[in-house]
Amino acid sequence: MNKTFNNKAWWLVLPVFLMVAFNALVPLMTVVNYSIQETFGNNEFFWSGTTWFEQILHDEAFHDSLRRQLIFTGLILLIEIPLGLAIALCMPRNGPWVSVCLVLIALPLLVPWNVVGSMWNIMALPDIGLLGKGINALGIPFNYTRQPISAWFTVILMDVWHWTSLVVLLCYAGLVAIPDAYYQAAKVDGARPWAVFRYIQLPKLKHVLTIAVLLRFMDSFMIYTEVIVLTGGGPGSTTKFLSIDLVQKALGGFDLGPAAAFSIVYFLIILFLSWLFYTLMMREEAK
């Protein structure tokens, strides 16, 4: 669409601008402020330069939670993206079942995040939970409050339960948007189902898959509530991801400087990795 140049449009954008500026700029400035100063209370601040950043970047605990975070995000992307795509391909295209499936599939997305945690908490209890009891009944020892592997398994299963639906809905929307003529042409050309997937569906889904990967990457990198309710970051600190670490530092420890420096580093990592994903995927597309 040809858009006309008109600076008066700023008046229409102004409310949004002010609202977001109030919410984003003021806090970010506060964070930056804390990150480069030292305080001993009484609202007295001293310039501390890059001390906090150096401290954070050399902090073993931060390295550990970053490593855990990367492994977690990598794993859930590897599971959720192919699974979501597969489920979307299984969805009916028309008929009364479409709405039923969509509503049921979208349901996990509407569950408050702490309830997701509670739900899986109850589900995975080793003695009275369906999942926990079930696994133990198979003869595999399972206790997510004691064994790191059980805890990781539960956390990942929970995230798959919670977020695969988002990938399904995105892919389904992409699939529905492919005109029938493509499938008909493929039939006429004698393409096998695999070729239809490889040469029609996958290329047409590239855009939504990019969005799905980006969203899942960003959101999983910020995961907090579900995990804090389910495992509290434990056992030990084996499921302590970046947000959990940050909130503990910021609200618990009173060491505002390191927490603020942590915040900035954290935000920059997400921005950088998102940019990297986006550029790589777009470059692939441009080829």
């Binding site: 008909q184 042409a185 039939k187």
Partner: protein, 357 residues
């Protein structure tokens, strides 16, 4: 390549059709010769795309049979029928090069790579795609993409029929003409059976040896372009083909004569008229002329259409259009009109009198 015979074909999109109106395609039988160029012509929603999809196997008919060279293929898949189809919107495989696109139908059928190479090169040459052969297909213009779709049909040497579903819809007007003559040329060169679906009479009449005109799920007339023009079997064909369409005027058939507003009019098929039903006379604007006497009329409007002029006249409450050659004198407001008896037909209930229905 094959002769296509359609026997008593009917199709309904509802699983459980009740009355005649549930059928998108009402009873139809027709035979198409091997190597012919056919067009299916009709307004939107007349059932022509349904018929096309039935032939290609994208739909399975509710009733009736489709035979390729005498073999019943009514329930075969498109692949088994070995047909090709070009769609309204160009369908290309975005991620592949032009070469891979053209090779795709052959590769799916396990043709050896060496043969694919020669075949694709030959087709690319025919379609003037050789230069872009190793470019990504998604970068091409709409007409280039449509050529690829066509190429995927031509590349298989053994296809029974190539079908076109309004293939020029998204092509720029100045390229439409080019692509149309290319199609005609390809038909002459390859001698494939081709079926071309369109709602554009120019496309149908220039492309096809035989045009099948459809309306409301029925075949109204099948014939050569000349037949459609000179002897429309139904007033619908008269209206639909020709620009401007045929004049259709109410008349009475009495004592072996057709009377328009009480004035006797000679008609070629008057002997066949039964005298029952709603009678009309049809005469194309090309066969109406200005006369010294005959049917009195008032000239209402004159439009210049280049090499000829379209004159619109009113006579006894009806509009009659006629064509005058450039340079012919345009009559003053009051004049008389005459109809060419050889090209004036009587219609009864819409159908030409004496038609075999």
């Amino acid at each position: 390549m094959a002769e296509i015979r359609i026997e008593n074909l009917r199709h309904s999109y509802s699983a459980n059709p009740q009355g005649e109106e549930d059928y998108a395609l009402k009873r139809l039988s027709i035979t198409w010769q091997d190597g012919g160029a056919y067009a299916l012509l009709g307004p939107s929603g007349c059932g022509k795309t349904t018929l096309l999809n039935l032939i290609s196997g994208l739909l399975t008919p509710t009733e009736g049979r489709i035979l390729f060279d005498g073999r019943d293929v009514s329930h075969s898949s498109p692949e088994e029928r070995n047909i090709a189809q070009v769609f309204q919107f160009p369908v290309i495989y975005d991620t592949m090069t032009v070469f891979d696109n053209l090779a795709f139908p052959l590769r799916n059928r396990g043709v050896p790579e060496s043969e694919i190479k020669t075949r694709v090169a030959e087709i690319a040459d025919m379609l003037e795609l050789t230069k872009t052969l190793h470019k990504r297909a998604s970068g091409l213009t709409a007409d280039g993409k449509q050529k690829i779709s066509l190429g995927r049909g031509l590349v298989r040497p053994d296809v029974n029929v190539i079908m076109f579903d309004e293939p020029l819809t998204v092509i720029d007007p100045h390229l439409k003409w080019q692509l149309r003559s290319k199609l005609k040329e390809l038909h002459l060169r390859t001698k494939r059976t081709m079926i071309y679906v369109t709602h554009d009479q120019t496309e149908a009449l220039t492309f096809a040896d035989q045009v099948v005109v459809m309306n409301l799920g029925e075949v109204v007339q099948a014939g050569t372009p000349v037949e459609l023009f000179e002897r429309p079997q139904h007033t619908f064909v008269g209206h639909f083909i020709g620009s401007p369409g045929m004049n259709v005027l109410p008349c009475e058939v009495r004592g072996g004569k057709a009377l328009f507003a009480g004035i006797p009019v000679e008609a070629a098929n008057i002997q066949a008229a039964s005298g029952r039903g709603r009678a009309e006379i049809g005469v194309r604007p090309e066969f109406v002329s200005i006369a010294k006497s005959g049917i009195a009329a008032e000239v209402v409007r004159v439009a210049d259409a280049g090499r000829y002029r379209i004159v619109e006249a009113r006579s006894h409450g009806h509009t009659i259009k006629l064509l005058l050659k450039e340079g012919d004198e345009v009559p003053q407001s009051s004049t008389f009109l005459a109809f060419d008896p050889a090209h004036t037909q009587v219609y009864e209930d819409g159908w030409i009198a004496g038609a075999h229905r």
